[in-house]
C-alpha cells in the first residue's frame, strides 16, 4: 500500500510545443506555423519551468507533445530538458517521450533527443496511403515515414506511432498496411477514430466519416493488432512487450501531472486542475495558468469516464480508497443493471466495459456518472 502511495505521488510532466511546419486538415490542437516565435516561446517556457510552484517535485514521466516538437530549432530541446532537470527530480528510469513527425524526424533530432535522455518517441503516421495523407494536408509520404521510423529505431528501442480511422478516401487495405508496418518497428500504437472538430479545414469541407464504416475499420485494426501480438489497454491504445505508455496511463488513472506551455493542462491528483492560455503570443508575454477547482461530482465523473476507457477498468477497492465511500452506494443500481445486460463486466471487484462494447462506451459510461 505504501509503495503504491509513493508511486502515486510521482508526477508526470507535460510540455506543449505549439509549432508545425503546416497544419493538418483535421487538427484542432494549438499550434502555429510562425517559426519566428520559437525562440521567445522556448524562453518563456524555460522561464515558466524555473518559476513553477511545484519545483522540487519528483517525476517518473515527461512528455514533450505538440504541435511538432521535432520542428524546433536545434538546441531547443536541450534548453527545455536542462530547465526540467534543474527544477524537478526526474527518476533515472522515467519514461521520457518526445513527439515528432516523419518530415522532421532527422538524424540531428534523434541525436539531440538522445543527449537529452529521451527514451521514447511517438511519431504520427495516420495513413499509409499517400493520397489520403495529401488529402488531409500531411506533408510527408508513406516512404518518408518508413525511412524515419528506421532511423529512429537506430537510436531508440521504444517507438510508438498513431493512425487515424475514418479519413477521407481511406480503405481497409490502408489500415492493414499501416498496422503492419507499425508492428514491424513499434511496440506501441494509438488508433484514433477521426473526430471532426469545429473550425478545422476538414470540418469546413463538410466531410463527415460514416460511423459504421469507422467501426468496421476499428474492428479490423483490432483483429490485425491481436495477430501482431498487441493488446489493447485503452480504447485507442495498444502495446506489446510491456510498452504501455506510463505517461498516458497517468491521465486515465487520474494521477497528478504538471503542464507547461501554451494550452497545457495540469492536475494535482485531487481537486485542482489548471490550464494555460490558448494564445501563443499571450503565453510568451505572460505564461500564467488559470486554476479551477473540481467538485466532488466532477472528480467522481472524471474518474469513471477515464478509468472505464482502460481494459483494467475501475477497481472498486481503489475507488473506495480514493473517495472514502463505495462506488456501489452511488451507482450500484445502474451498475448491476449494466452487468446484468452484459455491457459491463465485474471481475472480482474490477469493473470494466465488456470488450465488444468498448467502441460504444459513451452511453454506458454516462449511466455510471452522477447527475
Amino acid at each position: 500500500m505504501s509503495a503504491a502511495k509513493t508511486l502515486q505521488n510521482e508526477r508526470g510532466i507535460y510540455v506543449h510545443i505549439p509549432f508545425c511546419k503546416s497544419k493538418c486538415g483535421y487538427c484542432a490542437f494549438i499550434s502555429v506555423t510562425d517559426f519566428s516565435l520559437q525562440k521567445p516561446y522556448v524562453a518563456a517556457l524555460v522561464d515558466e519551468i524555473y518559476n513553477s510552484a511545484e519545483r522540487g517535485a519528483s517525476a517518473d514521466s515527461v512528455y514533450i507533445g505538440g504541435g511538432t516538437p521535432s520542428c524546433l530549432y536545434g538546441g531547443a530541446l536541450k534548453e527545455i530538458f536542462t530547465a526540467l532537470r534543474d527544477c524537478f527530480d526526474i527518476n533515472g528510469n522515467a519514461e521520457i517521450t518526445v513527439e515528432c513527425n516523419p518530415e522532421s524526424a532527422t538524424e540531428a533530432f534523434a541525436q539531440e533527443c538522445r543527449e537529452c535522455g529521451v527514451n521514447r518517441i511517438s511519431m504520427g503516421l495516420q495513413s499509409s496511403c499517400d493520397d489520403v495523407l495529401r488529402a488531409v494536408g500531411r506533408i510527408h509520404s508513406f516512404d518518408e515515414y518508413v525511412f524515419a521510423v528506421k532511423l529512429l529505431k537506430r537510436y531508440f528501442d521504444n517507438v510508438s506511432s498513431d493512425i487515424i480511422l475514418g479519413l477521407p478516401r481511406q480503405t481497409s487495405d490502408d489500415v492493414s498496411r499501416s498496422v503492419d508496418v507499425i508492428s514491424e518497428y513499434c511496440d506501441h500504437i494509438s488508433v484514433y477514430a477521426l473526430s471532426v472538430e469545429q473550425g478545422t479545414p476538414l470540418c469546413n469541407s463538410g466531410y463527415l466519416p460514416d460511423d459504421d464504416r469507422v467501426a468496421d475499420l476499428y474492428d479490423y485494426a483490432c483483429a490485425r493488432l491481436r495477430v501482431n501480438g498487441f493488446e489493447r489497454y485503452e480504447v485507442s491504445n495498444f502495446a506489446r512487450n510491456g510498452k504501455q505508455s506510463r505517461h498516458n496511463n497517468k491521465y486515465w488513472n487520474c494521477q497528478p501531472y504538471i503542464g507547461f506551455g501554451v494550452a497545457a493542462h495540469g492536475y494535482d491528483g485531487e481537486y485542482l486542475r489548471y490550464k494555460h492560455s490558448d494564445d501563443v503570443r499571450r503565453y510568451i508575454a505572460s505564461p500564467h495558468a488559470e486554476y479551477y477547482e473540481l467538485t466532488d461530482k466532477d472528480r467522481f465523473n472524471e474518474y469513471v469516464m477515464l478509468r472505464l476507457r482502460t481494459e483494467n477498468g475501475l477497481s472498486l477497492d481503489e475507488f473506495a480508497a480514493r473517495f472514502g465511500y463505495s462506488f456501489k452506494d452511488m451507482r450500484g443500481e445502474d451498475l448491476s443493471k449494466l452487468i446484468a445486460d452484459g455491457y459491463v463486466l465485474d471481475e472480482n471487484g474490477r469493473v470494466r466495459i465488456a470488450p465488444r462494447y468498448m467502441f460504444v462506451m459513451n452511453g454506458i459510461i454516462e449511466k455510471l456518472m452522477l447527475d
Partner: protein
Amino acid sequence: MDRQKFIRNFCIIAHIDHGKSTLADRLMESTATLTKRELSAQMLDSMDIERERGITIKLTPVRMFYEYNGDRYTFNLIDTPGHVDFTYEVSRSLAACEGAVLVVDSAQGVEAQTLANVYLALDNNLEIVPVINKIDLPAARPDEVKKEIEDIIGLPADDAPCISAKEGINIDDVLRAIAEKVPPPSGDVSKPLKALIFDSYYDNYKGAVCLIRVVDGAVKAGDKIMMMANGKTYDVTEVGVFQPKPVAVGDLIAGDVGYLCASIKSIADTAPGDTITFAENPTPEPCPGYKKVKPVVYCGIYPADGSRYGDLKDALERLKLNDASLFYEPETSTALGFGFRCGFLGLLHMEIIEERLEREFDLDIITTSPGVVYKVYTANNMVEVTNPSNLPPTGEIERMEEPVVTASIYTPPEYIGPIMELCQDKRGEYINMTYIEKTRVLLTYTMPLNEIVYDFFDGLKSRSRGYASFDYEQAGYRASDLVKLDIMLNGDICDALSIIVHREKAYSRGRAMAEKLKEVIPRKLFEIPIQAAIGGKVIARETIKAMRKDVLAKCYGGDVTRKKKLLEKQKEGKKRMRQFGTVEIPSEAFMSVLKLDNEKK
C-alpha cells in the same frame, strides 16, 4: 352630435402578405399618430409571433385624427386577422365597423382569404373601399386587378387608390377615400348606454380590459355598468382609446371605439359579443351576440420534461384568458405521461399556441399528430372521438364519420394538373372549376378535414411554387372507412403515435412513419424493430440497427474537463427523451412524424 358625424370606424381586409399591416403603419404615420421613430415596423402586431410571421392574431383598435376639408375626422382602425382560422375574430371586428378597406396586391390579385372576408364584410353591410397595393412592384398590373375586383367581387374599383404602402405612395388617397366613402356611425347619444364587447384581454393592474364599440349613449369613469349576459355590475374606473398605446379619455360616445376598465377580476365576465349597459336605466335590447366557436383540430400537448406538467397547465390557463377559442382538458399517455388534449380552430391556430407556449412560457412541448373530431357509431351509441386512443374496440364500431370541408383553391392555370392530383390523392371530390380570368382558376373540392390537417398546405405550396392560395369552410360529416394505425416500438404500442386514417392511406402512412422514426430515433446498443400495425396486423416494418460507434476518440490530460462536460451534457440530453420501454424517444421524433414530407413518398 357633431363629433359623431366625423367618426369613421373601419377595418382592413387583405390576404396574407398583401400589405395590411404595412398600410396600417402608413396610415398611422400619415395622420401623425406615430412618428417614424416610434414606428417599429408593423406596430399593431404586438406579439412577437405576429410580427415575425407577418400575421395578425388578436384584434387591435387604434384611433387616429385626420384633417380633411377643414374638418377633423376621428378614424378608428380595427385591425383584424386575415387567416381562415380566425374567421370568428374577423366577424367580431366587422361588427364594430361601418367600413372596410380591401387591400389587394397589384401583382397577385384577389386571393382566397380576401374573398371570404369580403363576403363577411358584405354580410355585415360594411362599405368596402378597395385599395390596390404594391404598385411599385415591376409585376404590378393595377388595371387588371381593378377589373378582377369588379368581376369577382362585383365592386366598382375604377377610382380605387393605387398605392405602395411600403414606399408610402398615395397614402393620402386612402385616407381621403375613407373619409368620403365610409359612412359615419348611426347610434343615438341620447339613448341609454349600449356597447358591444368585441374583444378583451387581461391586464395585471387594471383587470379585464374590454374593447368596446359604443352603439348608443355614452360612458365615462364613475358610471355604474352591467354586463347583460350575466347581470353583474361594476363601477367604470377608466375609459380610453388606443393611439396605439392606451390613453384615458373623458368619455366614449355612440360611434366610438375604445376600451373600458371596471376592476373586473375575470376575463370570463367580459365575453366578446356581450353587451354593456347602465345598471340603472339599461338598454332594452342587447347587441346580437356571436356564435360560440367549436374547435375543429385536436392534438395532445405534453411537456418534454414531465416534471413541468404544472407549468404547462398554468401556461394554458394564461393563454385561455385571452383566447376563448382554445380548448384543453387533461389526458394521459403511456408514452408521454401527463398532458392535455387541446382543441384549435385550425392548423395555424394550433401552431401559434404551440409557439406561444414555447416562447412566452419557455416550455419545451411535445405535440401528437393533429386529428379531427370523428363521429363513431356503436350498436346503441354515438361518440365523438378526438384522441385515437379513445376509439372503441374495432368489433364494437358499426360505422364512422369524418368531417369534410369545401375547399376553394385559387391558382394560375399551369398548376391545375398537379393540384388536382394532390386533391385526388387527399381523397378530395371534385366539385367545380371556374376560370376567373385568363391567368387564374378557382378549383372547388369537397375534402376530408383530416387530409387537410396532414400536410395539405405544404403540398399545395410546393406543387404551385407558392402561387396557389387556399381557403376552406366546414361542410358537415360523411361516412368513411377509417382505421386506427398504431406504431409499435420494440413490440410495444406507442399510444402517442397512433392516428386515425382512411384505410386506403394506412399503408403509405404507416410506411412513412416507420421510415421517419428510423431516422430520428437514435441508435441504441441493441436492435429496435419499428412496426406499423392496424388492429394487430403489421403492415410495415423498419429496424434501427444497433449502434456501432459512440466513443471519445482521444482523451488525455488536456481535454479531460471538456470531454467530461460533453458526456454530462449528453446524459442530461437523454433525460429529456421519453423513456418508452427500453427505447428512448427524443421529443423531436414525435414532431417530425407529424411533419412527414409527403413529396418524398
